[in-house]
């Protein structure tokens, strides 16, 4: 089955132009060179990719050019869907077929900033097509002092927060395929494992899952990894490279 997702030429062209102009952050971190020769597909859901920066992070890390279409006959080791919000049934079916035939699928939720209505659709789609139960976004910084001691003396121009105290950073701790501690992205989507293994948590909250589906593995991330990849987070880079090489 060959499907194409609302390929408005203008949109795709605009997206491609944006991606070509993306210049990964030049941190010269050890091991920050893009991967080559990895058998992956990076799927660009266009407007349904909520965080373009996440797509860019995967693109830069794995040296992939995003594809706007997905062919279920295509054989690849790993298909990555960054920061998705909505997903139409055709794409979901294609991903299911890929899993059946042995492709691993990395589904990254971008639902943290969706409206309640949009999130409900997101939740139903995951349940229906991938048998994954997710809870409403959890704001990891609610009640914490994200800001802003230095602004207090400039209250006239910088109105707003009245901080209490600083709190520790709510890292996402992955423990498969390697241990990694990655920056949170403010909100996480908690996941319930009906089957499969929890592979990442924030505190005690499960936010990442791996489960076998036919011949493939489904990896679900309830906290976007792509922005950390783009920001050059070495733990995130190592984690993804290990997933890509499995």
């Amino acid at each position: 089955m060959n499907i194409s997702r609302r390929i408005f030429l203008g949109g795709v062209t605009g997206c491609a132009a944006t991606l070509w102009s993306f210049d990964p952050i030049g941190l010269d971190m050890p091991g920050s060179e893009p991967e080559r020769g990895i058998d992956c597909v990076l799927l660009d859901l266009n407007s349904d990719c909520i965080l373009r920066e996440s797509l860019q992070g995967y693109q830069a890390t794995l040296n992939l050019f995003p594809e706007a279409t997905l062919n279920s006959r295509r054989r690849c080791r790993l298909a990555i869907v960054p920061a998705f919000g909505a997903m139409d049934s055709a794409i979901a079916w294609t991903l299911s077929n890929l899993l059946q035939s042995g492709t691993d699928v990395l589904l990254e939720s971008g639902a943290g900033f969706l409206s309640a209505e949009e999130f409900s659709a997101h939740q139903k789609m995951l349940d229906r097509y991938f048998d994954i139960a997710v809870g409403a976004p959890v704001d990891l910084w609610a009640g914490k002092s994200a800001d802003d001691v230095p602004l207090r003396h400039r209250a006239g121009r910088h109105p707003g927060s009245s901080p209490d105290s600083y709190a520790s950073i709510p890292y996402v701790n992955y423990f498969w395929p390697r241990e990694a501690k990655v920056r949170d992205f403010s909100r996480v989507i908690p996941v319930t494992a009906r089957a499969g293994d929890v592979i990442g948590k924030v505190g005690a909250l499960p936010v990442a899952l791996k489960r076998r589906m036919a011949k493939g593995n489904l990896i679900f991330l309830g906290s976007p990894l792509g922005p950390s990849l783009r920001a050059g987070d070495s733990e995130a880079l190592s984690w993804l490279r290990m997933v890509a090489r499995l």
């Binding site: 210049d23 965080l51 003396h153 400039r154 121009r157 910088h158 109105p159 920001a231 987070d233």
Partner: protein, 278 residues
Amino acid sequence: MKKSIGDNMIPKRWSFERGLELVKKAGYDGIELWLGDVPWFQMETTDAAVGELRRKVEDAGLVVSNVSTGLHWKTPLSARDPNVRSRAIRIVERQLETAQILGCDAVLVVAGLVTQEVPYNEVYQRCLDAMKQLAPLAAKAKVKIGCENCNSEQRFLLTPREFWTFLNDVDSPFVGIHLDVGNIHDTGFAEQWIEMHGPRITRIHLKDVMKKRGRCCDTVYTSLFIGDNNWPAIRAALTKVRYDGWLIAEMEARYRYAQDQQFYDTAADMDRLISGNL
């Protein structure tokens, strides 16, 4: 060099017209308009009403030096939420639109906000994305975007060299630096920023700063010549880079009484700075 002062300095309960009269009388050449900070200039203010502001400014014998905003402190270009970022971009677009209507060629943008929650490298990339997106609009409008150095408050682009690298990465003659000589305080020396950024300086904010001399050893802003800025060095650096643009008073420490007097005193201080007789 020309003198300007922000309309957000106009005492509360004063009308815009009364404020303009004071600004002119105190000897300024222009006025800086703060989008979102004053009742007469909001995001919802129509083009026609903005045109009317221009007429009032010109009737008072002044011009608009630039369009600034403090709205990006609450709606940062570096926010993780894409909806917030869209609103932040729209604010800059509106600044560019209104600058055209007001007949000026520069806007001030606070380009990013590093917090405990949103780390530096994320902020850098998002601000770069935003500026690359906005630069063509600025070029089309022939209005320069000046990213302000709010060093300690933003915790972003803390050194002149970082700022230089950022502007190189943006790579547009329509994106430069709106240099605030008071904001550098504990993180360097204003004169070095002036020397390093010379032709990329779109506008200059003036205020002074007392380093670690406030209560509990805070660094606090103050009126010109009272604080720790090295004004002779700043003046010399301006000469060195041939800066001949707008100097804009941004007095964060306000007079509690006789507020109109601050306009006169600051204008006199600015004249003294421009004269070089320090």
